[in-house]
């Protein structure tokens, strides 16, 4: 027998799922669907970041490295060898996973802010490699991805709605994995490491191994987003694929929404991307700097007044609600 709270939760979730599934059938504006796709994509990247950054508090600002590796792996496989990006996507994830081993080996030697700096440096170094070595992949100019028209097997679709469902699937995968981890021993170990790494090790948590594993998973998922993104925009260059903004947004949406919570990255992305879309429609596209200025202000406000993010607001309200009628608890 479900509790009343559980019933509400299930009903809300069901409603959200129905609305999200029907959305592209109802809304036909391609501008709006584009924004929905951005929201789903960055939610997914945020969910991938949150696994490591949120639960284990390993605050990476270098996830663009894996986004870029995923994007480049699938694109090189597609253009040079004609392999479908669906396979390339998985391959990109594996490449990112493998790359996270040496990168993690280096960066995990540092803790706190210096870990963050080391992750920035590795992502920038990867971007430089793709910029300099033209033989590797098109150098600084990048390349357009050949448009094959409607070709679902090559991850190319006629309607934006199809892309919407692909990235929705990715987000569902990310949320499902996060939910499973939250409920497993792994989740508790991650939170223990995030709270106090030394104390976690003292009670027998193998912190280096857990951090390595979660970094691999986080890198794998981020790479899937990279493949999807370049397939969606039909273009790749180092500045896009390894953009520092990807690293920033991955962390930002999680922190604003609620670090180390299942739905935090999604809520954070909805707020930030909606704000950004509104700003763009009010001020036009020639607004260099305004979007990130607003992001920075939101981030500062959250850190100073609401370090648990927007999810913290929701849980606080829920707790107050429960305290008012504790009879059934």
């Amino acid at each position: 027998m479900m509790t009343a709270a559980g019933k509400w939760k299930a009903m809300t979730l069901g409603l959200v799922v129905v609305v999200v599934l029907l959305l592209p059938q109802v809304v036909k504006s391609s501008f709006a669907i584009d924004i929905f796709i951005r929201i789903l994509l960055f939610s997914f990247i945020g969910v991938a970041w949150n696994l490591m950054g949120g639960y284990a508090k390993q605050l990476s600002l270098g996830h663009a490295a894996y986004f870029g590796l995923g994007a480049y792996t699938s694109t090189i496989m597609q253009i040079d060898f004609g392999i479908s990006p669906w396979i390339g996507m998985i391959a990109g994830g594996i490449v990112a996973m493998l790359a996270s081993l040496p990168i993690g080996w280096l960066c995990f030697r540092l803790r706190g802010p210096y870990f963050t700096i080391a992750t920035i440096a590795t992502a920038q170094a990867l971007m430089l490699i793709f910029l300099k070595f033209r033989d590797l992949a098109w150098g600084a100019e990048g390349t357009t991805i050949p448009n094959l028209g409607s070709s679902p097997l090559m991850m190319q679709f006629e309607t934006k709605a199809s892309y919407y469902y692909v990235v929705l699937g990715l987000l569902a995968l990310g949320l499902f994995i996060t939910h499973r981890i939250e409920q497993s021993w792994m989740g508790y170990y991650l939170v223990a490491i995030g709270e106090d790494e030394d104390a976690a090790e003292a009670i027998g948590v193998n912190a280096p191994r857990i951090k390595r594993d979660i970094y691999m998973l986080s890198a794998f998922l981020t790479a899937l987003a990279g493949t999807f993104y370049v397939q969606y925009i039909y273009f790749i260059d180092p500045a896009t694929a390894f953009s520092f903004n990807i690293s920033i947004e991955a962390a930002l949406v999680s922190i604003v929404g609620g670090i180390g919570t299942l739905w935090g990255p999604v809520i954070g992305t909805v707020l930030l991307e909606t704000t950004s879309a509104l700003l763009q429609s009010w001020l036009g596209s020639t607004t260099g700097g305004i979007q990130l200025t607003v992001y920075a202000l939101i981030l500062m406000a959250v850190i100073l007044w609401r370090p648990t993010g927007l999810m913290g607001l929701v849980t606080d309200a829920y707790q107050r609600h429960r305290h008012r009628k504790p009879a059934h608890a």
Binding site: R109, P113, T116, A121, Q124, L128, G289, L297, P307
Partner: protein, 289 residues
């Protein structure tokens, strides 16, 4: 060949002096306040714009505008420490990292809106002057910048080792709780440390102006160098940061000379990664934290 190497080393040392001002600021804040200031580069940028506007509006020499940029940034530093940083001090890394990171993002994008992305330069009478020693070539503007940078670093060292306030700062860096028990007011010490670090960043900006362009992203170049130098020179160590900065300047310059014009950053990253791989405690030893 030897002359080319000596010339590259000289070029490296000269720019390394500027890196040192930024790194010493980062390491001072890290040592005393125990946070990493991701926005340090943006304060160099603000120093540059102060000197740029003083030079173009009032005809003040960029080097002399040091006497404006340093106090202004000192005050900004005290305010930032008092109103922002003070509120997130504690055992939790996340708010500290992302508060200064948000500050960097904010200053960068505000200046993009205020000053546009255009490159701004100031031409002084000595911008194109150079000393010729044998076959060596020493640009006067860079030489002045280096000498002033070393003088300021020296002044900071004297301040930290001879004045009461300086000694209080070093005490707070070693053990904040014991320092507080000895009657040192940590908030005051932190505010001075933050102010002094930002004043050094402002000085770096003014000293750069005669030979370097100001633009909103300019700080990113210097802060990256500073982070690597601070890791290399052992976190929180002022002399270590100074020596490491000069080394990085030389390494970058040798890279540009012998590998290629735009290989400077690659050399920097290579140095960081090698340091992390083989000497994660920095060249001076000590604990990583």
């Amino acid at each position: 060949m030897l002359e080319t190497i000596v010339q590259a080393v000289i070029n490296g040392l000269l720019i390394g002096g500027i890196y040192a001002l930024v790194s010493i600021g980062v390491t001072l804040i890290f040592g005393v306040v125990k946070i990493v200031n991701f926005a340090q580069g943006e304060f160099v940028m603000i120093g540059m714009y102060i000197s740029f506007y003083l030079a173009t509006q009032f005809g003040i020499d960029p080097i002399l505008s040091l006497f404006v940029s340093m106090p202004v940034l000192f005050v900004i530093g005290v305010l930032v420490q008092h109103f922002l940083i003070r509120r997130v001090l504690g055992p939790n890394d996340m708010p500290q990292i992302f508060l200064t990171f948000a500050l960097s993002l904010l200053l960068l994008n505000l200046s993009l809106m205020l000053f546009t992305a255009n490159y701004r330069t100031v031409h002084t009478s000595y911008s194109d002057e150079a000393l010729h020693l044998g076959g060596l070539y020493i640009p006067v503007a860079k030489l002045i910048a280096f000498v002033v940078a070393m003088a300021l670093s020296g002044a900071l060292w004297v301040f930290l080792h001879t004045t009461d306030l300086g000694k209080a700062m070093r005490a707070a860096a070693q053990n904040r709780d014991v320092a507080t028990l000895m009657g040192i007011n940590p908030n005051r010490v932190f505010a001075v440390a933050f102010g002094a670090a930002l004043a050094l960043a402002g000085a770096a900006g003014s000293l750069l102006m005669p030979f370097y362009s100001a633009y909103p992203f300019v700080g990113q170049v210097f802060v990256l160098m500073a982070f690597v130098a601070v890791v290399l020179g052992t976190l929180g160590n002022v002399i270590g940061a100074l020596v490491a900065s000069l080394m990085m300047g030389v390494a970058e310059s040798l890279g540009i000379q012998f590998v290629g014009a735009d290989s400077g950053l690659i050399v920097v990253f290579a140095m960081l990664l090698l340091t992390l791989a083989f000497k994660p405690n920095g060249l001076g030893g000590g604990r990583v934290r």
